[in-house]
Structures are given as structure tokens and as C-alpha cells.
Amino acid sequence: MCLAVPGKVVHLRDEDDTRMAEVDFGGVRKDVCLQYIPDVELGDYVIVHVGFAIQRLDESSARETLASFENLGYLEEEFGDQLALARRQAGMDEESTAGKGELP
């Protein structure tokens, strides 16, 4: 959970007076709050942690990091279905449809 992942700002908007963006992480898109890096522009790369941009990053470093995270399976871990991950760890994946817990 301490992972911070670089991504590209592909859409900017204001929501309740808060600067928000859609950020692309090698194909996965997430809503990200830009309040901490207020002067970000469309196409810039930022380092994102739990939905917040905490720093900028140059494009080539960002692409390199993204490619290696993709290879290592970190993107799946960060953006994938967390409940499914927990079930897998608990050894419950075989019964994923039979369990009592509902998907959120």
C-alpha cells in the first residue's frame, strides 16, 4: 500500500472546488486529486499514491517505471480487485462465488 505509481494526466476537472484529474497508469484510469501539485497540466506525469498526486515525474522515468511495474505485477496488485486478492491469499479462490461475503 505504500506504492506510489507514476501516471499521465489525461483529463482535468474541478469538483467541489477541488482540482481533480483522470490519470492513466498504463491503461488503467483512476480519479486522482491534484490539490498537492496545483500547477499540473494535461499530458504531465505525476507520482500518485492512494488517489493523490504527490510529485511530478519526467516522462521517460515515468514510462520506465510503469513498464517495470507492469512486468512485476505491481499494477495488478495496486489497481486490481482487492477483495479477490485477499480471498486468494486466504486460499478461498476456489469458492469465490459460493462465499457469503458480497463484493462491494
Binding site: 500500500m1 505504500c2 506510489a4 498537492y36 492512494v50 515525474l57 513498464a67 517495470s68 489497481f79 491469499q89
Partner: protein, 370 residues
């Protein structure tokens, strides 16, 4: 050298390793603070590529692992309430409390939702004004700005049914505590890169000076770690103890000033218990007076928590770098990711989980684990 091809730039990895090998003349013990770095080191076998005498000691920088048992038990109690929607990051789900974990009570019907960002929890609060929505706000300085902004927004937008169960921890006091321990063997630190992306590097020179220990701000990709190790051993070999920044692309000296200002407004420093380690003075953040009404511990006055820690689990020693996971008798036997006795076996940033995932075949006698 079977691991080298897995580096994003094997030639650079080779060069860095050659330089490290050429520099080292005697044994040194380095601690990587961040659990993400531990994961990377074990996964890529970095410790096995280093010269004989260079030991990597794994540090306490796994937020999931150090969240105190008492807070986990409080989370369990709050999450079980009928009027509560409890929101958390996924990796807290299977952390063992005294009796059970969030995963268990979720399957028994508690309304526990996994979110990507604390802002998602705030949204849930907005959409469910008749319910209490609690977010489990744990983590180091990297995560704190997200939680701070969420509480700030809750106040600004008048979302009063939102609250935060806070257990933030801080890296510099942990470094001091490790160095002050009589059993400390650490001679150099790799400081956690993304923590410094937020906080900058200015807190560290005083520590380097006081404990005469080099501190190298380091990223957590394999090549970053090799570079951090290289800078640390160069300093050690030449008798220096300075703060160096080996992660400049993501760490300006000042960190993120806007985030730091928000942190100063929303949080205040407090003593904090670290699971398995004990209380470290001034090592955490709690909500400041102005925002305290959003504190879930206060809102739900959870009293009479009797914590009951596993008597077998040695995660405290693992987190302080006093033992390696496989020195714990339960490792891979009673304790596996499927059946974790301690949080360090749950989180992917926990040393026990990393050893289990990547090393158990080398470390355990055949047939010991599933």
C-alpha cells in the same frame, strides 16, 4: 546471477554491482527502512548479489505491519456496528486482530468496503447520510496527505457522518529508536523514497550527525536500491556519514510544501505504539484539535479493549531487524500467508510474506509448507 536479467537494465545493474564489489573492503550492515524496498530486495535477490559481508537488515517500514493491535481491535469493533460502513485499503483485511480479522467479520455480514483512495470513502459518506462512514487511516508520511485532505474536505463540505480511525507513523523517530536500541547493528540507512517525496530530506541530516550513520534516500525499484546501497557503502568506506539523495527524480529537498502545510494543519505529533515494537515517543500523527471531531476513536468511544497478541509470533524482532523471518520457529509451519500469525506475513511489504513468497523453497525443509 540468475536474477540479473530481471532488472530493467541488466547492464546498469551489473555496473552498479561491480562498483559495490570494488568498493567494499569489510562487512557492513545496512537497513532498508521501507517495506516496498524489502519486497524488491527479496524478490530480485539483491541481497544475494551483494558482496559476502554486506548484510541487508529489513526495517519497520511496513505500515500494515506496525499498526498497533489495539487499533486493529478497535477497527474490528467499529466495523461490526450496525450503523457503520467501514472503509479500508485492501491490505488491512487479513491483518490478525486479537480474535479475528476484518475479512472474517465482513464475511459474517459487516459492511466493510475496500477503497482505492480515502476520497472514495468520503463519497460513500456523502451518498449515505444516514450511516456513519469510517475510513481506516493508516500509513507513513506518504499516505498521510491523502487522509489529511479527506478530513479537510469533510469539514469544508460539511460531511459530518465521516470519520477517520487514525494510526499514522513517522520514519525519522523510528530511525532514532532503532539507533538507540542496545542491540542495534545498523551502520547505514536506505531512507524511504516516497516518504521523502512528501516530506523532503531536511529531517535527516540531524539524525545522520547524531548517530554518525549515513542515510541515503532511495527509491524502491531494483536499480534504485542498488544505487542507494552503492552510495551508502562508498560513504561507509570513506568514513563519512551524510544524507545523500539517490532518488532525485522523485524527491526534491523540500518534498511537497503544499502537502506539508496541509499535514501541519490537520495533524499533530503524538506518541505512537508500533506493533511488536512498543511505544516510540513522538512517532505518529493524530488529528489536531480543530479536526478532532472527525476522530473515529472519539466518536465511537471504544473502551475495554483487551489485546491478545500471538505468543509465538516474533514480528516485532523481524521489524526491528533483530532476526530474519526464517529464524522464527513458526515461519512456513504454523504461520503462512493463508494462516498468518502476524501482520508481517500478510502485507506484501512484510518481510515474512516476502521470504515466504520468494525464499521458502530454499529456507524450509521439504514438506514443511504447503
Amino acid at each position: 546471477m540468475k536474477y540479473l536479467e530481471e532488472f530493467s537494465d541488466p547492464q546498469l545493474a551489473r555496473r552498479l554491482l561491480d562498483q559495490i564489489h570494488a568498493t567494499v573492503t569489510r562487512p557492513w550492515a545496512l537497513m532498508e527502512v521501507c517495506g516496498g524496498q524489502t519486497h524488491s530486495i527479496i524478490r530480485h535477490g539483491i541481497d544475494q548479489l551483494l558482496p559476502e559481508g554486506i548484510e541487508m537488515i529489513h526495517g519497520p517500514g511496513c505500515p500494515v505491519c506496525v499498526t498497533p493491535l489495539e487499533i486493529i481491535d478497535k477497527a474490528l469493533e467499529i466495523a461490526a456496528r450496525e450503523d457503520v460502513i467501514f472503509c479500508s485499503f485492501g491490505d488491512m483485511l487479513r491483518v490478525p486482530g486479537s480474535k479475528h480479522d476484518l475479512f472474517r467479520i465482513k464475511s459474517e455480514g459487516s459492511d466493510i468496503r475496500l477503497v482505492y483512495s480515502p476520497l472514495d470513502a468520503l463519497k460513500i459518506a456523502k451518498e449515505n447520510p444516514q450511516r456513519q462512514v469510517v475510513f481506516f487511516g493508516i500509513g507513513f508520511e506518504t499516505t498521510a496527505p491523502a487522509n489529511a485532505m479527506t478530513v479537510y474536505q469533510a469539514e469544508r463540505l460539511g460531511i459530518e457522518n465521516f470519520s477517520l480511525l487514525v494510526s499514522h507513523v513517522l520514519v525519522p523517530p523510528a530511525i532514532a529508536a532503532i539507533m538507540e536500541s542496545p542491540s542495534c547493528r545498523v551502520q547505514g540507512f536506505l531512507a524511504a523514497g516516497h516518504v521523502c517525496s512528501v516530506m523532503g530530506t531536511r529531517e535527516y541530516p540531524a539524525l545522520a550527525e547524531r548517530f554518525e550513520v549515513p542515510i541515503v534516500v532511495t527509491g524502491f525499484e531494483p536499480l534504485d536500491i542498488l544505487e542507494g546501497i552503492r552510495q551508502a557503502v562508498v560513504q561507509l568506506e570513506s568514513g563519512r556519514h551524510e544524507v545523500q539523495n539517490a532518488y532525485r527524480r522523485a524527491v526534491p529537498e523540500d518534498g511537497n510544501p503544499v502537502a506539508k502545510e496541509m499535514l501541519r494543519d490537520v495533524f499533530e505529533v503524538t506518541d505512537r505504539a508500533w506493533r511488536g515494537i512498543g511505544s516510540i515517543p513522538r512517532s505518529g500523527w493524530r488529528l489536531s484539535e480543530r479536526y478532532r471531531r472527525f476522530d473515529a476513536e472519539r466518536r465511537f468511544a471504544v473502551a475495554d479493549i483487551h489485546t491478545d497478541e500471538s505468543s509465538v509470533c516474533r514480528s516485532g524482532e523481524v521489524l526491528q531487524g533483530l532476526i530474519k523471518p526464517n529464524e522464527c520457529a513458526a515461519f512456513g509451519k504454523q504461520c503462512t500467508p493463508r494462516n498468518p500469525l502476524g501482520a508481517t506475513m500478510v502485507s506484501s511489504e512484510g518481510a515474512c510474506a516476502a521470504y515466504y513468497q520468494y525464499r521458502r523453497l530454499d529456507l524450509l525443509p521439504a514438506g514443511a509448507s504447503r
